[in-house]
Symmetry: C2
Subunit: 130 residues, 2 copies
Amino acid sequence: MTLGDQFETRFEVTEQVYRGFMEIFADRNPLHTDEAFAREHGFSGKVMYGNILNGFVSYFVGECLPVKNVAIQHQQIKFGTPVYLHDSLVMHSHLAEVYDTVNAYLFKFYFQNTAGVKVARGEVRIGLLS
Amino acid sequence: MTLGDQFETRFEVTEQVYRGFMEIFADRNPLHTDEAFAREHGFSGKVMYGNILNGFVSYFVGECLPVKNVAIQHQQIKFGTPVYLHDSLVMHSHLAEVYDTVNAYLFKFYFQNTAGVKVARGEVRIGLLS
């Protein structure tokens, strides 16, 4: 992995992802489950769980890098724009920092929807397993 | 919600949570799925996905606060110690900062296992919906 390496990964916020997340984590907050509640608060529909995007980050780290012996050390994300059911997102990420002495790598990323809006951005630091 | 408010929430890393996360997000990185691989790298068994803990944070915000009209604005987590299948974790959190003018609240948290080890720590900033 070389500084500046870029990645693009597409993720679909399907019914299966949404329902699966709800069932696993039992978060039934009305913003995510009650269409009327979400609309009353100015949204176009039920807002997807932000942490679905963190699950996508897990896939990116676990499956999309050229190495498999990795573990996440630190992760952060800022949510800017709501994500809705059936949204199609592209995660754009790049290797922003390399810490040679500790075999760690920092990726910065953002998720963009099909309207071109960057809905969330963040970073994830990974370490190579010894 | 008042500055300093404390919360304790117990989470179980069950087979259902682990399998569900794997199926939803399709992350089959060997650290999380291959017992032998994990042991070769010095772990006691398959390491759980760090982002399972972020799912627990979603539950905390969505279900454990005295208000329901909330949305996560920003979230970060540092992973220190591996979490294994069947671990029982307590998320200790407290309201660390209140931003009155923007109706936002910052919670700091850590997850502790039954051996008393703080396996991860982080913070989550939420905003009240208007």
